[in-house]
């Protein structure tokens, strides 16, 4: 048995990794996948497995919107709809599923709440030192702004159309505004933080479960760890012949939870009490640590 499996195992493993198939789901099928699948792999090669395993993933995660009743109308679904920032939060992925009538190209926009953003402007002072020289204020800028499409936006419509729909960085900071000169720097900063992005290849067409003429595409938005809590709004646009229009939207709530929420609430609303608690915890932890190690240290002497 073992020698028979050996030559095909690396190939299968590579294929699994490439499409991120949860191996746990496959193990469920036990014997079938352990023997038939690798053998099939060896015969058919990677290209055949890709779509196969994608359906395997879809079957494993029924949570990814697949309500049959809604499949018939265009619209946007997102999973999960609730992101909690707990102590182990390190960012999150939002899987979107867009359904459009045939012939429309999909674009999905993720937008966080608008806020007044004040940035420090650095400049050289006293000839050598880089320090803050002033502020640049952006009124009403979304804290997160990500766009995904299947093809480059420029191929879908002209800049005017995109800007009117709010599908460009230019639409965020209009050229007339006083801080327009800093738009490029702002975008660079936000993109590096993972908060802003425009990904032309983010959406890919997925196997449609439907019997009708809707085209389904999916994509994954990545929220960085420093995503601020709030309501994120996702909107689906469809483009055809240089024109675009909205086809539905979805909401995602980002909230602090558990210890993170407790600490944050205490620190922001009862700051003095929080300070005292922080000190008490520190003293207790310090004495405890000292006690543990002192016991050992004395024993060693």
């Amino acid at each position: 048995m073992v020698p028979r499996r050996k030559p095909v195992a690396p190939c299968a493993a590579r294929a699994f990794r490439a499409v991120r198939v949860p191996l746990g789901a496959l193990r469920h099928h036990g014997r079938l996948f352990r023997f038939v699948f690798p053998a099939f792999c060896a015969l058919a090669g990677v290209p055949v497995i890709l779509p196969l395993s994608l359906t395997a993933r879809a079957a494993e995660r029924p949570a990814v919107p697949a309500a049959t009743g809604e499949e018939a109308v265009p619209g946007l679904q997102v999973q999960p709809e609730h992101v909690s920032i707990g102590s182990d939060f390190g960012g999150a992925s939002l899987t979107v599923r867009a359904r459009l009538p045939e012939g429309f190209q999909p674009v999905v926009r993720l937008r966080g709440p608008g806020e007044r953003l004040v940035l420090k402007r650095k400049a050289k002072r006293a000839g050598i030192l880089w320090m803050t020289a002033g502020e640049v204020v952006f009124e009403d800028l979304p804290n997160i702004y990500q766009i995904m499409s299947a093809v480059p936006l420029a191929d879908l419509a002209g800049p005017r159309v995109l800007s009117d729909l709010g599908l460009s960085y230019e639409s965020l900071v209009t050229s007339g505004s006083p801080s327009a000169d800093w738009r490029g720097e702002l975008i660079r900063l936000k993109e590096q933080a993972g908060l802003f992005s425009i990904t032309p290849s983010g959406l890919s067409s997925a196997a449609s479960t439907a019997r009708e003429s809707l085209e389904v595409s999916t994509g994954v938005f990545r929220l960085p760890a420093l995503t601020p809590p709030g309501e994120l709004r996702l909107e689906l646009f469809g483009f055809r012949n240089g024109e675009g229009r909205g086809f539905g939207s979805a909401q995602v709530t980002v909230e602090r939870s558990g210890l993170t929420r407790t600490v944050w609430l205490l620190a922001s609303e009862h700051a003095f009490l929080y300070g005292c608690v922080a000190v008490l915890i520190a003293v207790a932890a310090g004495v405890l640590c000292g006690w543990i190690f002192q016991g050992r240290g004395v024993g060693g002497h």
């Binding site: 720097e185 702002l186 760890a225 601020p228 003095f272 300070g275 240290g297």
Partner: protein, 304 residues
Amino acid sequence: MIYLPIAGNSVSILMLIGLGGVVGFLSGMFGVGGGFLMTPLLMMLGIPATVAAASDANQIVAASASGCYAHLRARTIDLRMGSVMLVGGLLGGTLGVRLIKILHALGQADFAITAVYVVMLGGVGSYMFFESLSALRGRGRVPKSKLRPSVHRRAAEALPFVMEFPRSKIRVSALIPFLLGTLVGVLAAIMGVGGGFIMVPIMIYLLRMPMHVVVGTSLFQIMLTCVNVTVQQASFNHTVDVELALVLLVGSVIGAQIGVRAGRRLKADQIKILLAVLVLAVMTKMLLNLLLTPSHLLAFRGGH
């Protein structure tokens, strides 16, 4: 990864424990030194300078609590001296916290913290470097204590408010420990350091306190100064991250234990040169941050 609620970002928990461990190791090995590396290294991990400094003060409370307790029981704290310093420390800490708040409003807090660090690390680093270099060459530590008294001591004796400190067996103007405490308090607020690396030499060489009460007294003063700084930072600047402080503590306690053991075996002066080089390297990195054209001409303000 651990999400830090006040810093508003997530950092690898292993990295934090490792960082605490390295700093604790250095502290354990040299007694003082190492604490002042914590804030700059945290800043390099992407934690805002103000949060790093404030949480570090919180961590120092924890780290000095057990030592302080031990010294209290061993009666090796000059409480009178410590109290005078503490008055200064409380004042300095409170001042420092307000200063940070003002600087933050001006948008210069990060710049100020970095600049103060460059100066302090540069001074401490080069002092340590040359001291251990001369020690390695076999000249020992003689020069320092012989050179100082002439000018400094005469000035010190001329000051008013002379007080008796029975436990340290010295008579000295209360202004010196008071001002020293104030300086350390300001530094604790701005840099998040205990200030032991300034306080201990001054207590030994300028105040001429007996060695056995120096460490206890400085720990006593540092701990209570940092208690004050922690509460003030939490109240006014909302920059204390207690989770960050605790993770660092775990690392530093373990590191300190290893450091103490390693310090007994290794030749201190050789290690000290390495520490000095490390301090100077961190200083250089921070200095470059001030001198080189930043990759971004805009920056987030940090905090809220």
